[in-house]
Amino acid sequence: MSTVATPAPQSSAPARSLTMAQALNTALRDAMREDPNVLVMGEDVGTLGGVFRITDGLAAEFGADRCLDTPLAEAGILGSAIGMAMYGLRPVVELQFDAFAYPAFEQLLSHVAKMRNRTAGQLPLPITIRIPYGGGIGGVEHHSDSSEAYYAHTPGLHVLTPATVADGYGMLRAAIASDDPVVFLEPKRLYWSKDEITPGSVEPIGRAVVRRQGTSATLLTYGPSLPVCLEAAEAAKAEGWDLAVVDLRSLTPFDDETVMAAVRATGRAVVVHEATGFGGVGAEIAARVMERCFHHLAAPVLRVTGFDIPFPPPMLERHHLPGVDRILDAVARLQWEQ
C-alpha cells in the first residue's frame, strides 16, 4: 500500500453529521490548513465553490491562488498541476464531470501515471484528481460516465472511490497525503447522503472493508453501488439469503486479502458496479476471485453491471443501472440447488 503520512488527528474533534459533499469539503479545508503546499484548482472551484460546491468557501479562506479558477481546458489543468507538483506543491485537481476528464487522458497516462517510474523515483507527483462520476442524478449525456476501468488499468495511479460520508473525508485526506497520484472518484449521487464523520481521521489507502457480514454469498462492490448492495442484502433476507457486502474502496491497490477471505467464507459471490460490464473493473474482480478461490466456489462469480451501451438519457437510466432486483436475480442464479 502507499505511504500515507498520517496527520495528527485534529485535537479531540467530536463526530459531526455531514453530507458527503460537506465531508469532502471539510477534508479539503483541513488538508489546506495543515499543509500550505496543498492547493485546489479546476474549473469553477474558486468563486463559485464548484458546481457541486465541494470547494465552497476555500477561495475565501485560502485566497484565489490556493483555490485557483483555471481556464477551461482539462489537459492544461492537469498538465500545469504536474509542473506545480514538480516544484513541491500538492495540487488537488477537480475535473468537473467524468466525461470531461477525457481531454486530460494523455497527460494522465503518459505523464501523471509514469513520472515517478520514468525518473526512477526522482519526480513523484503527489496529485489528487477528483472526478465526480457515475449516474443516478438524471444528468444528460456525458454527465454520468463510470470511467474507473480506464484508470484502474493504468499502472502508476491509485484509484479510490468512497461510498460513505466518513470515507469521503478519510479517503480524501489519504489521497492528498499520498505521494503518489490518486484518481479520486466521487459518486455524485452520494453527494447528498448524510452521516457522521470524525474530522482528522485518515483511511489508509488499499483496504477494502466488509460493510455487512453474511453467510450465503458475498456482494463485492464500491462507490455508488454500495448503498444498492446494502439494500439488496436487506431485501435478500426475505428470500432466506444472508448476504455479505464488501466495499472495495480502493481499486488500485486491490485488497486481495479482504476480498478473498470474504468470498471463501461464503463460497459464492456477485460483483456489482454501474460501469459497462465488458472489460470493466468487475471483470478483474471476478477473474481474480475465481483464480484465487476456485475450489472454494460453489458457483461462478457473477457480475451485475451497467449494460454495454452508452449511458442512457435521464428518463431511461434506471433500466441501465444495477438495482436491487437485478442483484437479487443474480444471487438467485448462484446455483443454490447443486
Binding site: 474549473e43 479558477d69 477551461l72 470531461f100 456525458h142 449494460f307 454495454d308 438519457p313 435521464p314 428518463m315
Partner: protein, 378 residues
C-alpha cells in the same frame, strides 16, 4: 494533386523564401479591436427594413422561446436548460445567414439557433428534456446534435466543410463555441486544421463573459478572442453580439468569405448571458446585479425594437404580430411538453452498433425478462 487551392502566398518582402514559406501577411487577418456595430450608427441607414423586421420577429420569438423553456424547466418538463436569454441576436443570426445546404454545429446552449433553423422546439430540446439524447434528423436539417463536451464540435465542422469541398459542394459549416470553449485544445486544433485546409468554416464565438462562473479575464489574456484568428492564418472579426443587424451583417460576410474559397473566419460576438448558466446555477455567487442591470440596457431585443421604433420601421401592429407568433410558439411548446414522452426501455440496445453484438442480445434478453417480471409480478 490536390483539389483545393492553396492558401494565397506570402508577401515576399517579410519572409526569406527559403525559410519554410509561404507565410501570410498578418494585417488583413487582424480584427478591428472595436466591435462592429450598426444599430445607432450611420451604417444602419443603409439596412434593408425588411431584414430588420425579420430579425426583430426572430428575436421576439427567440426571447419567448427562452422564457417558455425556462418555465418548462421549473415545471420539471426539462431536465436542465441553459438559456440563451440575452444572446438571441447571435442565435437567430447564426441560423439566418445559412443556406439550407449549409451545416450548423451548435453547442448545448444553442437550441434557439437550432429552432431558428427549422427544428421544432420539442425536438431541439430532446436532450435537455431527458427522454433521448437527440431529437431531430441531423441530415435533413443539416444541423449536428447539440454538443456538450466543449469545443469538440469544432473539428467536426472543419471535417464536414472540407469533405463537402472535396465533393465539389458549395457548403459552409458554421460552428458555435463559447468564450470558455476557446480555451480547449480542440478549438485550437480545429482552427489550425481549418487554416491549413482552407476549409469553408465559420467559427462563431459567443463571448458572453463567463464560462459558468469564470469571467473572461481568467479565461484569456488575449486582446480579443477574435485576435486568435491570426495564429491560424485566418480572418478574425469582432462584433457587438447584441446588435442583431451587426451580427447578421458580419456573419453574412463571413459565410460568403468561406463559401467563395477565401478561407475560414473566426467571429467573436460580444454578448451577455442574462440568466444563470443553467437553472441549476446560482449566478449571484459570481456576478453583481449591477452588472446584469447594465447589460439589460443592451438587451438585443430592446436595442433592435428601439431602432425600429425610432426609425418608424415598425408599428404597433407589427409588434403585436411578432408577439402573437411568439405566443403561438410558446403554446405549441406547452402542448408538446404536456404529454409524457414515449419511452421504450428496450431501445437502450438499439443503435449501439448497426447490428447488436451477441453480448448486447444477451443483455437485451435480461432486460426484457426483468420488464416482463415487473409487468407481471405474480
Amino acid at each position: 494533386m490536390t483539389l483545393l487551392d492553396q492558401p494565397t502566398g506570402p508577401s515576399a518582402s517579410v519572409w526569406p523564401p527559403d525559410a519554410h514559406g509561404p507565410r501570410r501577411d498578418p494585417a488583413p487577418l487582424l480584427p478591428d479591436p472595436e466591435p462592429f456595430r450598426m444599430l445607432g450608427t450611420p451604417a444602419a441607414d443603409k439596412l434593408d427594413p425588411e431584414l430588420l423586421r425579420d430579425l426583430y420577429r426572430r428575436l421576439v420569438l427567440g426571447r419567448r422561446y427562452n422564457q417558455q423553456a425556462t418555465t418548462l424547466t421549473k415545471q420539471g418538463r426539462l431536465a436542465v436548460y441553459p438559456a440563451s436569454t440575452g444572446q438571441e441576436a447571435c442565435q437567430v443570426a447564426a441560423a439566418a445567414v445559412l443556406r439550407e445546404t449549409d451545416w450548423l454545429f451548435p453547442s448545448y446552449r444553442d437550441t434557439l439557433a437550432v429552432v431558428s433553423r427549422g427544428v421544432r422546439p420539442v425536438a431541439a430540446l430532446t436532450l435537455l428534456r431527458g427522454n433521448a439524447h437527440h431529437g431531430w434528423d441531423p441530415k435533413a436539417h443539416r444541423t449536428a446534435p447539440l454538443c456538450t463536451p466543449l469545443a469538440t464540435q469544432a473539428p467536426h465542422a472543419v471535417g464536414l466543410a472540407h469533405a463537402a469541398r472535396l465533393r465539389g459542394d458549395d457548403v459552409v459549416a458554421l460552428t458555435m463555441v463559447g468564450d470558455g470553449g476557446t480555451s480547449e485544445g480542440d478549438f485550437h486544433e480545429a482552427l489550425n486544421f481549418a487554416g491549413v485546409l482552407n476549409a469553408p468554416v465559420v467559427f462563431l464565438v459567443q463571448n458572453n463573459g463567463y464560462a459558468i462562473s469564470v469571467p473572461l479575464s481568467k479565461q484569456s489574456a488575449a486582446p480579443t478572442l477574435a485576435h486568435k484568428a491570426v495564429g491560424y492564418g485566418i480572418s478574425g472579426r469582432l462584433v457587438d453580439g447584441n446588435d442583431a443587424a451587426a451580427v447578421h451583417s458580419v456573419l453574412t460576410e463571413a459565410v460568403e468569405h468561406a463559401r467563395s474559397g477565401r478561407g475560414p473566419v473566426l467571429v467573436e460576438a460580444v454578448t451577455y448571458r442574462l440568466e444563470a448558466h443553467t437553472n441549476a446555477d446560482d449566478a449571484t455567487r459570481y456576478r453583481t446585479s449591477d452588472e446584469v442591470v447594465a447589460w439589460r440596457q443592451r438587451d438585443p431585443l430592446a436595442v433592435l425594437e428601439r431602432h425600429l421604433r425610432e426609425h418608424d420601421l415598425i408599428d404597433d401592429a407589427g409588434v403585436a404580430a411578432a408577439a402573437e407568433a411568439a405566443e403561438e410558439l410558446a403554446a405549441e411548446m406547452r402542448a408538446e411538453f404536456h404529454s409524457e414522452p414515449e419511452l421504450d426501455p428496450m431501445s437502450l440496445f438499439e443503435h449501439v452498433y448497426a447490428e447488436p453484438t451477441p453480448q448486447l442480445r444477451e443483455q437485451a434478453d435480461l432486460l426484457a425478462a426483468e420488464l416482463a417480471a415487473e409487468a407481471d409480478p405474480r
